[in-house]
């Protein structure tokens, strides 16, 4: 214990002495949140629509009315000419076409499926994705009034605020970078400059050294997260419906996983350059499969399976659920179990691979 404290003191002394690093640690959450949450803002203010009403019934008229009176949409064409509408879509004059099939009302009244077709220009995939969910949102609301069942993934972000959706995910990304890259670099650096060897001829034990290295990273991660969280709530007005303390419980176990990965990288990399590349490579894969930028629901099956092994995807889900939905521990038990198991596995592999006796 005493030895760990000595190492901790040394680590923090080094961190506080390195001004560029301190600057990055403090500035990173601010800059990343500001840039990413705005750049990754898929929010569409005015969605131009063409509606083809083949049913011309009371229900279809009601639905169209819902779109007309919704401030997010602008009805630019109400025409049954499909070819002409497709041309409008191709020329970017509308973002989406909604077609209500003939017999829509009749089918619904007889408890059969009423079909609505949505055509989108998928060249800009992200916009199309958002447009689709916006439309689904309106249809969903209408369906609730009509007591019909439609599902929408925007159920818990009723203002369709993309920032609220992105910011918790970006916070996760932030602490992941700290956990993986900072940990890996910090340990490999000692290997590179030879101090590792000097440490190895002292009575410092392996577990003392590793704890002395990981605890500062956990603390920095928690501080970083808190900074980002304050920014998210105060500056971005992201709702925080759930228990913030519960968020920190998940954060702790998540950081344990990340530091484990960082430690593992440090055991396979010979120098800082290798460590950085490895860490970067892992971060990229994690980010793509995290559900942060592309929704997991729209991934192919094989990718969906892969996301199950990506710790980010669990913590992002936890963050969004707790902050936006106000979920409690009961709804997120599985995620906690997965994170703890992942933490144990990663740390074990890393510690076993760490050569010091």
């Amino acid at each position: 214990m005493r030895t760990i404290l000595i190492i901790l003191k040394k680590e923090f002394r080094q961190i506080f002495r390195s001004r560029p690093m301190l600057l990055v640690i403090l500035a990173m959450p601010v800059i990343q949140l500001l840039i990413l949450s705005n750049a990754a803002d898929y929010e569409i203010k005015q969605l131009r629509l063409a509606i083809e009403d083949f049913d011309k019934s009371r229900l279809s008229a009601e639905l169209i009315e819902d779109f007309t009176f919704n401030e997010w949409f602008e009805l630019t064409a109400l025409d049954l000419n499909q070819e002409k509408n497709d041309e409008l879509l191709a020329k970017d004059e509308v973002e989406a076409i909604i077609a209500i099939e003939a017999g829509f009302e009749k089918n619904l009244q007889q408890d059969r499926t009423g079909n609505i077709q949505i055509r989108l220009n998928a060249i800009d995939g992200a916009t199309a994705e958002v447009a689709a969910s916006y439309i689904a949102g309106v249809i969903n609301k209408w369906a609730v009034q009509e007591q019909k069942q439609v599902r929408s993934r925007y159920l818990y972000n009723p203002e369709l605020n993309y920032k609220s959706y992105m910011v918790p995910g970006i916070l996760v990304m932030l602490v992941s970078v700290i956990g993986i890259i900072l940990t890996a670099l910090n340990i490999v650096r000692e290997k590179e400059i030879g101090t590792q060897e000097q440490i190895n001829v002292t009575p410092i034990r392996k577990y003392e050294y590793i704890l002395g290295k990981l605890i500062p990273m956990l603390i920095i991660g928690i501080v970083e997260f808190s900074l980002g969280l304050i920014l998210a709530i105060v500056v971005f007005g992201v709702p925080h419906l759930g228990n913030i303390l519960l968020l920190y419980v998940y954060l702790f176990f998540y950081l344990v996983v990340m530091c484990g990965i960082g430690l593992f990288i440090s055991t396979v990399a010979g120098n800082q350059q290798q460590a950085l590349f490895l860490a970067f490579f892992m971060m990229m894969i994690f980010l793509f499969l995290s559900g942060l930028f592309a929704p997991i629901e729209s991934m192919p099956d094989w990718a969906k399976v892969m996301t199950k092994f990506v710790p980010l995807s669990y913590f992002i889900r936890v963050m969004r659920s707790i902050m936006l939905k106000g979920s409690g521990f009961l709804e997120l038990q599985m995620e906690l179990v997965v994170l703890i198991v992942m933490g144990i596995i990663m740390q074990t592999i890393a510690v076993l691979n760490y050569r010091k006796r």
Partner: protein, 309 residues
């Protein structure tokens, strides 16, 4: 006297690369024991085994009666190690480095201050300076202080004077003598043959084997050959090539300005006359006994020759 370090039959290979072959030696308390050898001779590997950083493939090594393999934890409390390159925290100050290493050994700067006082007084004016900003000589002094701060029984120094200026080198050796006077066994590796004379005993290491092991004066006394030292006005390399062709010349080496030729003592006069007759522009240095470097170069060349035949 009881030996502090004992190594018997130490062998180590890295893949197909043999680093150490059945090495034996022992060092007594207070002894400065030097390992002389070129880069890649196995000095660092041997030191890493003795400091428990590496494990030998075969053989047994003991430090103060503790087995390097089994009792590595106890050994780490009683050895001080200085690696070949500067390996302290460059972003911490002189004082912080010292304190850190003292604390790690459950000691304090004050507790063993007597031992490092002579060295530390030179460092003290810079104690607030970052270790990375010290000069080469000062870095070595700090590293030595850090290795001594817990008053080890054995001090292991891997090429401590490589890349250090001659004045700092001499100071460094003076420091080592002070340390040895405290009864600390010092193992020191160096590629500089002239430093051999500073050691109580030396081992000449080549390709993982000890060629000679003795007191430096004894190695010189036992040297069975005679040395002719000469200078030329003409091209030195050309002359060396020519001399090496002479069957009587057993080794020919360039020593800065001069050339050293070793031969059987009986034929020294004859060979000198023959060289004088064959070459122009040569001047012979006055009669001089062989130095430690002559001995080492001769033995290394001989070992090389055996290897090749």
């Amino acid at each position: 006297m009881e030996n502090n370090i004992r190594a018997a039959g130490i062998s180590k290979s890295f893949g197909s690369q043999v680093a150490l072959q059945e090495l034996d030696f022992a060092a007594a308390p207070g002894e400065i024991f030097g390992f002389i050898g070129a880069d890649g001779a196995g000095k660092t590997t041997l030191f890493k085994i003795l400091t428990t950083l590496l494990r030998q493939d075969a053989g047994k090594a003991e430090v103060c009666g503790l087995d390097t393999d089994k009792d590595f934890r106890e050994i780490r409390r009683i050895i001080g190690y200085m690696a070949g390159r500067f390996s302290l925290y460059g972003d911490l100050s002189v004082e912080e480095n010292l304190k850190f290493f003292a604390q790690v050994f459950d000691s304090t700067l004050q507790e063993n201050y007597e031992l490092i006082r002579d060295i530390y007084v030179l460092l003290e004016p810079f104690k607030k300076r970052r270790a990375a900003d010290l000069s080469g000589g000062m870095k070595q002094k700090l590293a030595l202080c850090c290795a001594l701060i817990h008053k080890p029984k054995v001090l292991v120094l891997d090429e401590p004077t490589t890349g250090v200026d001659p004045v700092s080198r001499r100071e460094f050796w003076d420091n080592l003598k002070t340390v040895a006077a405290e009864g600390i066994t010092t193992l020191v590796a160096t590629p500089y043959m002239d430093e051999a004379m500073q050691c109580d005993r030396v081992a000449l290491l080549q390709e993982g084997r000890i060629l000679q092991i003795d007191r430096p004066a004894q190695i010189i006394a036992d040297f069975p050959k005679a040395v002719i030292i000469l200078k030329t006005e003409h091209n030195r390399n050309q002359l060396i090539r020519k001399l090496r062709k002479l069957p009587e010349a057993e080794s020919v080496f360039s020593f800065g300005e001069t050339i050293h030729v070793t031969c059987e003592p009986a034929i020294k006069g004859k060979l000198t006359a023959a060289i004088a007759a064959a070459e122009s522009g040569i001047s012979f240095q006055p009669e001089q006994a062989a130095g430690i470097e002559d001995c080492f170069l001769y033995y290394m060349q001989r070992a090389d020759g055996r290897e090749n035949n």
